[in-house]
Symmetry: C2
Subunit: 322 residues, 2 copies
């Protein structure tokens, strides 16, 4: 057997600056919507005590070098032990022979980055030209990573963050001001719509936080938080009112996320949305007017994991070859 | 993050002599039948060109240290490249936190060994006392490993091997005689029943090879080859005639393997078999008479992967600690 590359996070982090994640995500979504990807249903392993869940996502893009398996877990009692609740790794195998090629010990961080890169791609594709303030629902890791990733697609460095509690907002402000953002805060979610033409939602809420009435014409919303059949951040009526609703995966968005909620609510027909990759490939129109309201629902698809793992693997091995 | 142990095959092989695989399999099947295991459905990833299939098996025994994920593939065009068609690895994670603990780069060989150890365990549990000749259907890797593993449970070193072609039989004879066995061969599968009171079936046949009429009273058959809904090596009537039919997993044996074939055929009721772990735990009787015919159908359950990976991990880390 040829040697298997084992990369720790420090080694992965070192090659990230050389990777154009937005372009990788764009290619991944286009390949996905063009039917070039094989992405079976997500595998799940559950634990009761302490509570935890493990997800196995795997797949490949036909004709590429590798297939990818991601194992990602959330153990929510880890915090008390001083450990991150997210754990995980990604594996690459040769698509033509099954040989293991690499183990990326990314501790779940590549998932955070690929999710944020997809959000930035959605903003680049759908957001209006002038953004005076970025609205962020939530203050967790995605609330940080999404805003950081937006630096590549907008010059706006002003953020209005919402959370239920002032303490979380203060912590978020401190972290993000350190990274060069001006951070305003609110505990009223309807304030986001009044000030922001680009809003990113990142909470695990299970009842809508953003009302239809609070959103002005010309707003783009990227919904990242809802990735199950239970979670919801946007009022269903907001998706009905939107001029364009986009999902990352047609089949998955019918099962989980904001679109599935609006479809179950009857506010949206199950064919009244398009796939991100179809817009990126020019097969469907995107925003056609500055006054349109657009919503892009990102539930997370395994092809994003395939894309980021493959890009990191190529970068690590080209570095070795040099 | 703590260091992740990465073990190549040479390191894994070095600790195997210190592991009692039969005892590990016995504990695994008992835990499984006692409902102490969590083993979700197998994940599958398929490839067309070149053809290949990847299986993801994963699970854990409640209360143990680790959970295990196995990725195993078969790419049948590998032989032309001088590569084994089987590829794969096993991963261990801490059950209470999700932290990755180890990557076992076993190239699929631990699967071969755990399958063979289960066969030896079945023979120890069900075979008659006097075995003059071991019958083996097939000449592939399991035909070798099963007979090797039987050395731990019987003194018999005489083997009667069946295959369709003399060439495969000659190759098998050469390999196994090198390992100290006396090997007779035949191209008539009914000859096994005439000479052997312990028969192991290891082929991927899809129509029955061993007839009911060919089997004498007092025979035990371990059926290893059939692990899908299509494969079949034993005539359904043989399972009806058997005094005891045992499966490794009640739910899985209803879906795949010899038992599922006999149930679909109407020869066996879907409750007319017991689980291996129930017999091992003394909850069901095993062989009670020297003249009984017993059949043990091993379709392969993920808890065997959990057991062998955990045992190897414990051996590797206790070695490191010394």
């Amino acid at each position: 057997m040829s040697e298997v590359l084992v990369a720790r996070w420090s080694e992965i982090e070192a090659v990230l600056p050389g990777i154009d994640l937005l372009t990788e995500m764009e290619r991944a979504f286009c390949a996905y919507s063009a039917g070039q990807c094989v992405v079976p249903p997500v595998g799940e392993l559950l634990f009761d005590d302490p509570p935890g869940d493990v997800h196995l996502k795997y797949g490949y893009v036909r004709g590429e070098e590798t297939y990818v398996v991601k194992i990602a877990s959330g153990f929510y009692a880890n915090a008390a032990l001083g450990l991150p609740s997210s754990q995980g790794l990604m594996l690459l195998f040769r698509q033509t022979t099954g040989e293991p090629l690499a183990v990326l010990l990314d501790e779940g961080r590549l998932t955070d980055l690929r999710t944020a890169a997809a959000g930035a791609l959605a903003a680049r594709t759908f957001a209006p030209k002038n953004i005076e303030c970025i609205g962020v629902l939530g203050t967790g890791i995605q609330a940080r990573r999404q805003v950081e990733a937006l630096q590549d697609v907008t010059d706006c460095r002003r953020v209005l963050a919402w959370a239920r509690h002032e303490k979380a907002l203060s912590a978020y402000r401190a972290v993000m001001e350190n990274k060069g953002f001006e951070v305003l805060t609110t505990t009223d979610p309807d304030e986001l719509g009044a000030s922001c033409s680009l809003i990113v939602t990142t909470t695990p809420a299970t009842t809508a936080l953003i009302s239809e009435a609070s959103i002005r014409p010309g707003t783009h919303i990227t919904a990242v938080g809802s990735d199950t059949a239970d979670k919801q951040e946007l009022e269903a009526a907001l998706l009905r009112r939107a001029d364009l609703v986009v999902g990352d995966s047609r089949s998955q968005c019918r099962e989980r996320g904001e679109i599935s909620q609006a479809v179950r609510d009857g506010a949206l027909g199950e064919d009244e949305f398009v796939e991100l990759g179809e817009v990126l490939a020019g097969k469907c129109p995107g925003r056609t007017d500055a006054d349109q309201i657009t919503v892009c629902d990102l539930t997370g698809v395994a092809v994003q994991d395939v894309a980021i793992a493959s890009a990191v693997y190529r970068a690590l091995t080209s570095k070795v070859r040099k």
